[in-house]
Symmetry: C2
Subunit: 617 residues, 2 copies
Amino acid sequence: MITEKLFIVDLQPVGRRAEVRPGQTLLEAAQSAGVELVSICGGIGVCDGCRVRLAAGQLTPLSLEEEMAFAGDELAAGYRLACQASPLSDVTIDIPPESLTTLQRLQIEGAQVEVEPAPAVIGLDLQLEPPSLDDLRSDSARLKDSLRGRLPYHTLSLGYPLLSGLSPQLRQQKWALRAVMRGDEGIAALPPGERLVGLAVDVGTTKLASYLIDLESGATLAKTGAMNPQISYGEDVVSRIAYANNRPHEGPGILHNRLLETLNDMIGEMCVQASLRRSTIVDAVVVGNTAMHHFFAGLPVAQLGASPYVPAVSEALDLPAHLLGLDIAPGANVHLPPNIAGYVGSDHVAMLLATRIWESGGAALALDIGTNTEISLAPGKKAGWPAGRLLSSSCASGPAFEGAHIHDGMRAAPGAVEKVQIDGDQVRVYTIHDQPAVGICGSGILDAIAQMQLAGIIDQRGVFDRSHPQVRVSDSRREFVLVPASESGHGRDVCVTRQDVNEIQLAKGAIRAAIEIMLAEAGLQAADLDQVIVAGAFGTYINLKSAIQVGMLPPLPLGRFSQVGNAAGAGARQMLVSLQQRELAGEIVRRVDYLELSAHRDFTTQFARALILGDIS
Amino acid sequence: MITEKLFIVDLQPVGRRAEVRPGQTLLEAAQSAGVELVSICGGIGVCDGCRVRLAAGQLTPLSLEEEMAFAGDELAAGYRLACQASPLSDVTIDIPPESLTTLQRLQIEGAQVEVEPAPAVIGLDLQLEPPSLDDLRSDSARLKDSLRGRLPYHTLSLGYPLLSGLSPQLRQQKWALRAVMRGDEGIAALPPGERLVGLAVDVGTTKLASYLIDLESGATLAKTGAMNPQISYGEDVVSRIAYANNRPHEGPGILHNRLLETLNDMIGEMCVQASLRRSTIVDAVVVGNTAMHHFFAGLPVAQLGASPYVPAVSEALDLPAHLLGLDIAPGANVHLPPNIAGYVGSDHVAMLLATRIWESGGAALALDIGTNTEISLAPGKKAGWPAGRLLSSSCASGPAFEGAHIHDGMRAAPGAVEKVQIDGDQVRVYTIHDQPAVGICGSGILDAIAQMQLAGIIDQRGVFDRSHPQVRVSDSRREFVLVPASESGHGRDVCVTRQDVNEIQLAKGAIRAAIEIMLAEAGLQAADLDQVIVAGAFGTYINLKSAIQVGMLPPLPLGRFSQVGNAAGAGARQMLVSLQQRELAGEIVRRVDYLELSAHRDFTTQFARALILGDIS
């Protein structure tokens, strides 16, 4: 009897493993491991949905379908279609986020935490002697005396939240406890041996991502995502600041409270997931753009809404959780890392921390694309800049990528067109959850416009080709039918209009203009860039080829790009488990030269150039 | 024409001054200065109400009335009747509190603050540059940069209450402000030049005394007193702890909240008095017995109600005012000086700080008499104790001195008998505000019993002389009629019963037993005491001769006693204006040997001995 050889397939970054027989595809491997890859065509190599990248090992040779699906640099980078490729050895496969049919499209994954835990808060198990007529020390003095032998501090203090419950707790727990210490301050008393948990939160303008982390091991115990409930008060940062300013008495409080309510619900949900109590969450790190940071912290925002757009606070803050209304251990602090400027917040700092774009020494660019796009450039050695020095900036890229201001736009929810392929008169769309199409989300509209341009439906200026058979005029509005009413989920056509194209031109033009000005400031050209990191929810799902096609990103080999998911959340988790990472975040901010684009002499010119669809270089 | 010589009369400690012609009495001098002395007899030298002490200068020789009114040692100490004595030179006169017809009998005077101001909080007036496109520093960074040049700290932090309002305030105040600093932490931003105010509070079981102090000069800007509203939940500490324990969910919160409501009202009242805003009150010191300390701070009290009666917290605490619900500047801290033991609290520490009983080097005793009586002994050199070393203890002296558990007892309010003289069958009483008698307050019952004993109405054991014409039996209860119904304010007799005498025996017996045991522990006898300081509301009003007569205090020359009023409040004010005084308070506590009387082998014997009315030595 011949034992059949099995190959091991490591699926990253999800961290799952499968064993396959020779001839089985990577798609089958993923399915057997419970990892759902996008597969519209059913595995026949035409939908381009199951793109993966070979990181190590050997696969069967390229199929014809694969040679058609990928550009030369993509093939060079190791990209394959999972339905076409089979292992010839044990292999490691990288799955880009867009190839996963994630149940929830809220971005809470991002890079893994890979720092040595050195948390701000530690636990010490103690057994105290009970008081007697011969030993009348107060409960607090008794605890301090016991701590003194175990810690290197001259003076120790016990915080009010610990003190206010200590006496009954010591008696209930028979004088045994886990003392939770933040430096020389006791912040909580827990039952002996209780696990210490930290909370990391990325407060996005649209989405919230939360994680519970074991502070000793760094392991993620639970995570969840939710929409930012402030959306009801304004879709973007500017309209929420206006809302707060127009209602100075109650507005800021409403925005703060709604956010905190939702965060507290998320914490509750995660506590259920991980079977733990809120009182064990003894530390927190919260990142967000500067406006979200201010709303979360209850800081005034009026000055963020008018030139010169200065933050109330830029330095790192450590605020008592109870002061902010965050329902975790009452003695916990919330660490808020520093902001760089009014429109470059701590989420961008966290992203820089997680991606370390300066470390390679090459020229590297990192973007967080959203309603507001934050960009940092590490010019690196070749530009002659000092090591570790960064240039940061931001631009208003509008809500089009969130699906707003788009005729049939919608958020990334079931039924949203998120991927488009136009081949002659054949239009193929892929929707979230494979539901009948009801609208177009950000990555879908970018794809559609890139494909429309390639198909000659629109020209470089975004003008529709009136003679094109699929272009029609409705209510004196030119539009392209992406999904006809007969195939849509709501019985109406799903279209791309001239106005939609215009919105994307404005958005991508602002981003590209910012990139060009920053490169020029550093004495670089786009081709000098060794690395371009695209972070954030939207950046994770876009088709890079489409982004290059419309001219949002410079035309570089695809291998120089990486889509890193929620790197801000990853940076927050790193700061949660390591004080060194908090210090490094402060250092990053000190190394940044902030470039205010609205004041830059070249912005208008560059912006006008960058409105053109296609390569502007 | 001959110019008549005028003498200057300095009236202390009230700090008023009068000019009198030769022949005018001290009583007339006081009246002309607006200082109201007790004068029942109308200035004919028989009521003994206008007792004063000559501190400097020369008076007319003693009158016959004065020789009858005072004991030899009182005369030696300079005691006079103001209605009998006239200046022969400029004089300084000390007026003991009991000789003043104070409108309010809440004790908020006490010793004057005489420390060099070195407050925990200071103000710095700053003018900042507004931000511009060339200077995009955040508001917080801008403020910090400006502070850095003015302060000796390497790092500076700005507290949340300051930050949360800073941005609009800077813009309203045209970038000028007074930064309020507590060490290296900014705690508030006020308009430039604003006066910085501190709050000192003495939380008594029965009464609250509050002061607003100018932190720079130490001057008292306003003061007020009120009843402790917790009285509705229990007259004494023990019953309030029981109330809290029996309602673990809401009880402690109710007691804390009622206290804070009243304190906040008092602060409001003082702000009106001094025309200032609560937001300028940037520091606070609160003292009280250990239970009041715990209720104020929201600390658990259950363990105070059962042996071995240990405090939750003994060390000094600095707690954010807003955390406790104290309505002053949101960035202010409340300093709570240390407690010595479960029944010797920070009010006693404050009293020791204000009176400095260890400083003379002699043997000195200090008592704070109330429902619970705290006693400290500085044994001094003659006992061979180390310099500055103290012995502290406490005893339960019951609520009789507050007028409770006394048949016709009442608090020190208008119509309360507070002074009694019995001369044969002539009974003279003095009531508060000279109102018709409706009851007897603490000092009155002590006086009555001393006088009844002197008149032979009761014997040393407190047994009534059945044959005495003024002793009657009512409802099989023996009683002495102090004020007949015809002369009282409510048409009923005001009486002293056998049970009343018993209550006072128990109360004074506990105090005297404590004194004797402490003296024995230190190797001293009562006669060794160079100084006895009687502090607190009740201690201020008692007739020392009566207290000695019944045996509550040891029989020493009256000149060795001082009645210092609310020394706890004075100590609180000293700690408010001076960090050095807070340190000294900590040092006092470290120098104390606490003696737990309930565990002392001699307590029962000494207590039994001390029940006897009269000299037990």
